[in-house]
Symmetry: C2
Subunit: 178 residues, 2 copies
């Protein structure tokens, strides 16, 4: 049900009408509004669900992608490359959503902020394990590379930018763990 509602990812939230969701999901409008009181609540539910799924998948792949802490940090960008290669990759849902909601106090924004904070926190843990002299700074830098690679892959439609990010990440990690 919610699954079909990832139309949001492709077309954006404002551009996706309730009717389209109803039509494509096979669910009836009545049922939809029985579960979610409004479109905003539906959006929130979708974002929250995706938040959990995406972070889980991210951590799982990173964990498997490297033996050493340093290897896991670099695996972040291997994960990114695979992500960018998916044919339903339309950039980061949270970044795209933030672009549609500028109001500072909407709960939608909060979810997006929270997601990014948690991802950065996870990267920071890896930095600690890798023995970085200043884990927080390194984590910020690597998160920057990841965000940058994500939007660049989205715009330029070329997943290979992940390799560039990985190369830069390597340099920054080496410098921070010298």
């Amino acid at each position: 049900m919610k699954t079909a509602l990832a139309l949001f990812a492709r077309n954006g939230i404002h551009a996706t009408g309730i009717d389209t969701i109803v039509e494509q999901s096979g669910v009836t409008k009545k049922t939809l509004y029985a579960h979610f009181r409004s479109k905003e609540e539906l959006v929130l539910a979708v974002l929250r669900q995706y938040d959990g799924l995406a972070r889980n998948e991210f951590m799982r792949r990173v964990e498997r992608g490297g033996e050493t802490p340093r290897g896991r940090l670099l695996a972040v960008f291997d994960f990114a490359e695979r992500w960018f290669q998916q044919n339903d990759f339309y950039g980061c849902l949270f970044i795209n959503t933030i672009g549609e909601y500028s109001s500072k106090d909407t709960p939608i924004r909060q979810i997006c902020q929270e997601y990014k904070k948690l991802v950065k926190g996870y990267i920071q843990e890896l930095c600690v394990e890798a023995g970085a002299s200043d884990p927080q700074s390194l984590a910020e830098e690597l998160a920057l590379l990841l965000e940058g690679a994500t939007v660049t892959a989205q715009i330029s439609q070329s997943p290979k930018i992940a390799k560039t990010a990985k190369r830069a990440a390597k340099a920054l990690i080496d410098k921070a763990t010298a």
Copy 2:
């Protein structure tokens, strides 16, 4: 006239109705449609105009911001910090727009792609001047940091991330010009 139409930047394109634009700009609907045949044409015109302005401003500030090529490369991130601090900063218009238009062949996407390509090209010129061993790679890496800082500043609402990006940039530049 077009100036008032930068409602797009704040609220996104799909969320901004023609009526709102007409109302806030003082221009009449008739006149608007005399200049632009459709909303899409208006969007294109706005993006194109902003493309020119933004790139100009960017290059001007970078040029003034540093004496040496290396200094100008770093000035990119000083520019970014000032940009992030503006109270009408809602992230990069082109990134936000791409998030709303996934269709590969819309001219709107092309403008966004072109903008990013030109900015990267300019950074690459600076990298050449700075004597980088592989200017293209360095430019890609620095562009990544800039994009990352932009979306991070937008989401976290804290302009200081520009300093983080600058620090990382310094490390990457040093490595590439050793």
